[in-house]
């Protein structure tokens, strides 16, 4: 186990990158998912467009998408650094699923809540912010949390296109030390800890709001 301990600082630096990548992708994915869920309520034709996108994302493995964008992007003349390329793919991929989660949250509320708010003279933004949003988000939170955990683990695929993060760092250490078991066990422990911490944080937020 001393191999694992010796290399822990290196792995933790990789984990730092994993967290950075996760936050950079999860924040825009969440915001975009929320906007899309709201937009499709008002604009029906947008619904079929978003459905098409969702089907596409649902049917393509994330790793295929990552590799595809990695090779395609330079050809379009858009030369994004790998970090931003991966962030873009992760955000676009998970935004599609998050929009579904938020849509389910909005749909779970009875129409009567909208009617009660409207009949008090609340404008749509006020109604969304004070009445519909807090209730819909509470419904959507557990599923959203699952997607965030999935996204965090999904960042490990970035190692395939050479973006240095926890998984690539582990692979490097294993190559050097020829000790795959303790190193990958450490990596697994770190991933678990990140996801577990997120879960605890979200539950605390839930309690604070409830």
């Amino acid at each position: 186990m001393s191999v694992a301990l010796e290399n822990l600082p290196y792995l933790l630096r990789g984990a730092g990158m994993t967290v950075l990548l996760s936050v950079a992708a999860a924040v825009p994915a969440t915001l975009a998912g929320l906007c899309m869920a709201l937009a499709r309520r008002r604009t029906p034709w947008l619904g079929s467009l978003l459905d098409g996108w969702l089907f596409l994302m649902r049917g393509i493995p994330l790793i295929v998408l990552l590799v595809f964008v990695y090779f395609l992007l330079p050809r379009t003349g858009l030369d994004l650094p790998p970090f931003w390329g991966v962030t873009l793919v992760l955000a676009a991929y998970y935004a599609a699923f998050m929009s579904e989660v938020f849509r389910a949250g909005f749909d779970a509320l009875p129409n009567a809540q909208w009617e009660a708010g409207r009949s008090l003279g609340l404008s749509e933004p006020l109604l969304l912010f004070h009445v519909i949003g807090p209730q819909a988000l509470r419904v959507a939170l557990p599923a959203h949390l699952n997607l965030c955990a999935s996204l965090i683990k999904g960042t490990s695929l970035a190692s395939v296109i050479g973006l240095w993060e926890l998984t690539l760092a582990s692979l490097e250490v294993v190559e050097r030390t020829l000790a795959p078991f303790p190193i990958f066990l450490s990596a697994a422990g770190i991933y678990f800890t990140i996801c577990f911490a997120l879960d605890r944080l979200a539950r605390r937020l839930e309690v604070a709001n409830g």
Binding site: A112, E115, R118, S119, L120, G121, H130, V131, Q135
Partner: protein, 262 residues
């Protein structure tokens, strides 16, 4: 006669192929309590919901205190109001629903304070003072910090009335507000409504509570098939209805009254 508080002029409403309202006109004077009665499917709830545009109507016009609700007429064209205009008009129309529709994630107090603060721009202190006064009026002063789920149906419905009143509406609409309550709770809600009527609030009430209609209404309107069949003071409508259909509808009620009173 003075301009009515509410004027409904030839309201028509369809759901698909079905005519729900077939040209209903009704004036409600300031301070008047009008009770709409009629069999299920007669269009009374739909009519009530057209007053604040929770239901769109296909023809006719609604005006509150002389100002149009829902549609403006420009020449011969009906222009639907923008959402923001509609919100401003709705702020003056209080409505209480059968299923209370309180906001479950807020306390009783927050339910009542939200719209006065956000729409009427009252300060937090003003809104809270107003909310506590109304809770006192409704006999719920000690419930301010509870959530709706912690209250009985009758208490929730009285909070809903307080929430609507906190906007100081020009008119109050009640849509079968006692239908979801058990008989013991019905009385406490009806008492609150009686009090409002006696204080001169303009009210339109859809109800199956005939005793309430008889005692509180200034005018009872009997609807069927999307039309007003007959209307008049309660003594006339309940005592000597002109239309055979009204007589038929009220028959059971009048017989029951006869037995208990006579």
């Amino acid at each position: 006669m003075a301009e009515p508080m509410l004027r409904l002029d030839s309201i028509e409403k369809r759901f698909g192929e079905v005519d729900i309202l077939r040209g209903v006109s009704l004036d409600v004077q300031r301070g008047e309590a009008v009770v709409l009665i009629g069999p299920s499917g007669s269009g009374k709830t739909t009519l009530l919901r057209c007053i604040n545009m929770l239901e769109d109507y296909h023809a006719g016009s609604v005006s509150l205190d002389g100002a149009p609700v829902g549609y403006r007429l420009e020449g011969r064209e009906r222009i639907r109001m923008r959402d923001s205009e509609l919100a401003a008009v709705r702020a003056d129309i209080g409505i209480v629903f059968q299923s209370y529709n309180l906001f479950p994630h807020m306390t009783v107090l927050a339910n009542i304070m939200l719209a006065p603060m956000k729409v009427r721009k009252l300060s937090r202190d003003e809104a809270e003072a107003r909310a506590r006064d109304l809770l006192l009026l409704m006999g719920l002063a000690d419930k301010a910090d509870l959530h709706p789920a912690q209250l009985s149906g009758g208490q929730q419905q009285r909070v809903a009335i307080a929430r609507a009143l906190a906007m100081r509406p020009k008119i109050m609409l009640f849509d079968e507000v006692t239908s979801a309550l058990d008989p013991e709770r019905v009385a406490e809600v009806l008492t609150a409504m009686r009090q409002l009527a006696s204080e001169g609030m303009t009210m339109v009430v859809v109800t199956h509570e005939m005793a309430f209609a008889r005692d509180v209404a200034d005018r009872v309107v009997f609807m069927e098939g999307g039309l007003i069949v007959e209307q008049g003071p309660p003594q006339q409508l309940f005592g000597n209805p002109a239309a055979e259909r009204t007589r038929q509808f009220l028959g059971r009620f009048m017989n029951a009254e006869g037995r208990t009173c006579g």
